[in-house]
């Protein structure tokens, strides 16, 4: 196994853990945590491909930088939503937040 496939495998596992977290855990904050893990798996892929890519392109790095910024924005908005939901339903458990009525 060469270095690139090691990193790709690592990022696959990371993505799998994140996906499992999103599908299995029912706390809204943990779902967001898992989403962050999946985003980071994608970032790792970008860096690994940038490292093993040809040419002087730094597009992979730039993409990761922007992705990190997006993740920060996503975390801020997502957690604000969780807090709003918590304030309304007194829980952050997604199975108990099951009404669509405003």
């Amino acid at each position: 196994m060469n270095e690139l496939s090691f990193f790709l495998l690592l990022s696959t596992l990371l993505f799998g853990i994140g996906l499992a977290g999103v599908l299995v855990r029912r706390n809204a904050i943990l779902v967001l945590v898992s989403v962050e893990l999946m985003l980071n798996a994608a970032n790792l892929n970008f860096i690994a491909f940038w490292r093993h890519g040809a040419g002087g392109e730094s597009a992979g790095l730039m993409f990761v930088l922007f992705s990190i910024a997006v993740a920060a924005a996503e975390a801020a908005v997502g957690l604000a939503l969780v807090i709003a939901v918590y304030r309304r339903f007194r829980t952050a458990h997604l199975d108990r937040v099951d009404t669509l009525k405003g």
Binding site: L8, I17, A20, G21, L37, I68, A73
Partner: protein
């Protein structure tokens, strides 16, 4: 791939596993920090110095703290009561396992991963800055706009509304 990379990878995976599997939400958040730190180490070992340090600064310094504050604000500091997993956890776990398996299988069979060229070292900060300000200036500005909008949006969403039935009870006057 050397020993340090392997160790960092294992630390990252352990942190990620801890962050989705532990019962106490704060432990989950701390596990997530471990995963972030491991990823930052991996980036550094891949020669992406700038990105690795930005990862620490933004993820551990900002996103992680936001997660912790959210956990505390939703009273998740103690151990979670009731069922840890959703009712359909078997289905979800199965799907996740299947997706991971398919991706890993595809990855291990792929013939195009054996690239010879490995970059010696990452670009200097000057190069990163120049490409941010020249080639990627429009994405950068869009990102600035997005971050501003996200900050304002987060404040508005999390602000308690007047007369909100779910709002915490105001203390009686006097």
């Amino acid at each position: 791939m050397n020993g340090i990379t392997l160790i960092l990878g294992l630390v990252t995976l352990a942190g990620a596993l801890a962050s989705v599997a532990l019962r106490n939400l704060v432990h989950c958040a701390l596990g997530l920090m471990v995963a972030f730190a491991g990823l930052a180490g991996l980036y550094l070992s891949l020669g992406a110095q700038f990105v690795g340090l930005v990862q620490v600064l933004v993820y551990i310094g900002a996103v992680g703290i936001v997660f912790i504050f959210a956990i505390l604000l939703t009273r998740g500091g103690g151990s979670e009561s009731g069922s840890l997993f959703s009712t359909s956890w078997a289905v979800g776990g199965g799907i996740a396992l299947a997706v991971t398996g398919v991706m890993a299988a595809a990855l291990l069979q792929s013939p195009s991963l054996d690239r010879g060229s490995v970059r010696a070292a990452g670009p200097t900060v000057r190069q990163v800055g120049e490409s941010l300000m020249a080639d990627y200036v429009i994405p950068l500005e869009v990102m600035a706009l997005l971050l501003t909008a996200a900050a304002i949006g987060a404040i508005i969403v999390a602000m308690p509304e007047k007369g909100d039935p779910g709002a915490p009870p105001q203390p009686p006057p006097g």
